[in-house]
């Protein structure tokens, strides 16, 4: 036991050092754009973990998750840009974004309590579109969101007078803006991971598992299904809102086109591909789906290296290969790349009572 925990500590420390050095290694090896991709990957990890609460833990198929990301992003953007001349500090904006997104989560959750499966999917999809359409059109009669033109010149995140939008020299080391954001995002991602883990093991987490497995039985066991569902929506949404705020500060410009349905679908792909309900799986899925399309950009260079010239235009092939990758990964690992142990069975059981009985609620984590 002692041996084992020491081993675990070593892995932890190695992982910590690895994560801390990662942006420098990536910068030196692949270029700074890859640090930006890392930043985006971390944002997607947060988003995927948030959606994982709703879909993975509570089993509610949500296709409009990007709306909460959008709400968080606009919260930040409108309160820290020349739009209304407001420039609130980030420690007000980020919690506020998460809170407002959480409220929107409840707003979405309330009318959908009775819906299941694909009906829930289409309503959440509609909700996501409604939010995007409002953001896209609220420039008249009163200009609130600046409509399709988006909000520009959003303040970069600045912590204790240190702006993350500029290159900074700290302790004799030069950190570019993407590096600085990397560390902020990393810390917040770790917080999100921690909260996710604690939630999964908590009373609430078990209640989510219970309603996911069998709503009627859960209600019979005295679980307040309504509140527990709303809580799942609110928690998931607030993670999305947090990530949205960070995105707005990082990007400096947001417009409604960044929050379209395809984004929602991509985040869902991340968690299903990685392994729904399983935190390492979700993280892997998010990183993979952010990195893969970018990595596939190099197929032009690959052709040049192997064949001497570009035979097929990389832009023609990139998304095609991405599509094939999605199909192949699912065919070989249908429960996700890193499935949670008991999940393989229970997820397939949507309408199948016989199978549901096999996976009892209480062997969920033990």
């Amino acid at each position: 036991m002692n041996q084992k925990s020491r081993h675990a500590w070593l892995v932890f420390v190695a992982l910590g050092i690895g994560l801390a050095l990662l942006p420098f290694l990536v910068d030196a090896g692949l270029g700074r754009s890859w640090v930006r991709i890392l930043d985006l990957a971390l944002l997607y990890v947060m988003l995927a973990l948030g959606l994982n609460i709703v879909v993975g833990y509570a089993g509610l198929l949500d296709l409009g998750y990007i709306a909460f990301y959008a709400v968080g992003a606009y919260c930040y953007a409108l309160l820290a840009s020349p739009m209304f001349g407001l420039h609130l500090p980030f420690w007000v904006l980020l919690p506020l974004g998460a809170l407002v997104a959480g409220l929107f989560g409840v707003l979405l959750g309330t009318p959908t309590l009775r819906l299941r499966g694909d009906y829930l999917a289409i309503v959440t999809l509609g909700f996501g579109e409604i939010i995007r359409i409002f953001l896209n059109n609220l420039n008249a009669p009163i200009n609130i969101t600046n409509g399709p033109q988006g909000v520009n010149q959003i303040d970069p995140i600045s912590i204790a007078g240190l702006s993350l939008g500029k290159t900074q020299v700290l302790f004799g080391v030069t950190f570019s803006s993407p590096h600085l954001y990397y560390y902020l995002f990393l810390i917040l991602t770790l917080v999100v991971i921690f909260v996710s883990m604690r939630l999964q093991d908590s009373r609430i987490g078990r209640a989510w598992a219970a309603i996911r497995e069998d709503e009627v039985a859960a209600e019979a066991m005295g679980i307040n299904v309504r509140n527990i569902k709303l809580l799942a929506f609110a928690m998931g949404a607030s993670f999305g809102g947090l990530a949205g705020g960070l995105f707005a500060g990082f990007q400096g410009f947001i417009s409604p086109e960044s929050f379209n349905l395809m984004e929602s679908i991509m985040i869902l792909c991340m968690i299903v591909l990685g392994g729904m309900g399983n935190i390492p799986g979700v993280i892997l899925g998010a990183v993979l789906l952010t990195v893969l399309p970018e990595a596939l950009r190099y197929i032009g260079d690959l052709q040049r290296a192997w064949l001497g010239h570009v035979v097929i235009d990389p832009s023609d092939l990139r998304m095609l290969l991405f599509g094939f990758a999605l199909i192949l990964m699912m065919l070989f690992r249908p429960a996700g790349l890193l499935p949670s142990r008991q999940r393989k069975r229970e997820l397939s059981a949507a309408g199948d009572i016989a199978e549901q009985e096999q996976a009892s609620v209480y062997d969920a984590r033990h």
């Binding site: 694909d118 009906y119 289409i122 409604i130 059109n137 299903v272 095609l320 999605l326 393989k344």
Partner: protein, 309 residues
């Protein structure tokens, strides 16, 4: 008044377009409970293939009536779409039949992306226009205008729905489909080959997609490799509104969604005193969808599981 009638006609035609695509969605869903996200893309392939054939025929100066040329295009598109549908089911869905429920959803999205990009490689990134060979006859009904193509779309969606319903209710294949939908295992015991039935369902659904693709591109006069996505999404919403898995529901949902969108775009400005305009057309449509589902959580006609086909 004539404006109102016109809006209703607009809505019904738009709704028939949705209904044509929604029928394919709902057939596959009825038997497998799978959202075949790639169905919109099969529709796109149908439009592209038929347009290629039609353009080629027009290009070499074939002296046939426009309707015949379009039918020839359709005849070419149907087997291609059937092949695509069969292949998709075989390669991307069948291996996952016992996998977690959301796994086939991801392969469906993958298939969508693959089909789009293959279409882009074959037909290019440009919009392809439909040659003006169809009769452009216009008719007046209560002061509103309706064209021949619009009437054809309206009729096609209703005829196809009736034909399919009849087939599902009366034919051997239909009975096998209903049996497989209820329980593939027991259907198997009764001598129904579930795999064959599912394959046939996909083939049939894809043939429908080909018809829908041709009608859509003929009506709007264009086709593009990206056209399937939005169309598929709207059709999916329509199928859910009507009660997914129910053929009549798909058509009802499609027509209703079309009319709602049309009236929304036409009257929302007046109703809200100009605060909201036609830019909120989709908000209006989704709002009604949510409202309907709040009171009928499994769609308008989708209550009884046994009625699925």
């Amino acid at each position: 008044m004539d404006i109102f009638v016109q809006q209703i006609i607009n809505g019904l035609v738009l709704g028939s377009v949705y209904a044509l695509v929604a029928l394919g969605y709902t057939m596959v869903y009825g038997i497998l409970e799978l959202i075949n996200f790639a169905h919109g893309e099969v529709t796109m392939i149908g439009a592209m293939v038929s347009l290629t054939v039609i353009s080629a025929l027009v290009g070499v100066g074939v002296d046939l009536p426009g309707v015949v040329i379009v039918l020839l295009g359709l005849l070419a598109a149907i087997p291609v779409c059937m092949g695509v549908g069969f292949t998709i089911e075989r390669l991307a869905y069948r291996p996952l039949r016992n996998a977690p429920r959301l796994a086939p959803l991801i392969t469906a999205i993958g298939v969508s992306i693959v089909l789009q990009n293959i279409a882009m490689l074959i037909w290019g990134r440009q919009y392809i226009s439909f040659p003006p060979i169809l009769p452009q006859g216009r008719h007046q009904i209560l002061g509103a205008t309706i064209t021949d193509v619009q009437i054809a779309i309206l009729v096609a969606s209703v005829v196809l729905m009736l034909g399919l319903t009849l087939m599902v209710k009366k034919s051997r294949l239909g009975r096998a489909m209903r049996a497989t939908a209820q329980s593939p295992q027991i259907a198997g015991l009764m001598g129904v080959n579930a795999n064959t039935v599912i394959s046939l369902t996909f083939i049939l659904g894809s043939a429908l997609a080909a018809v829908a693709g041709v009608m859509v591109s003929a009506y709007y006069g264009l086709a593009h490799y990206y056209m399937g996505f939005l169309l598929g999404l709207k059709a999916f919403s329509a199928a859910v509104l009507g009660g997914i898995g129910n053929l009549a529901g798909a058509v009802l949902g499609g027509l209703l969604l079309g009319v709602i969108e049309s009236l929304g775009a036409g009257y929302i400005g007046g109703l809200t005193g100009g605060v909201l305009g036609s830019n909120y057309q989709d908000v209006f449509a989704f709002f009604i969808l949510i409202l309907v589902l709040m009171f009928r959580p499994s769609g308008l006609l989708g209550e009884r599981v046994g009625e699925r086909a």
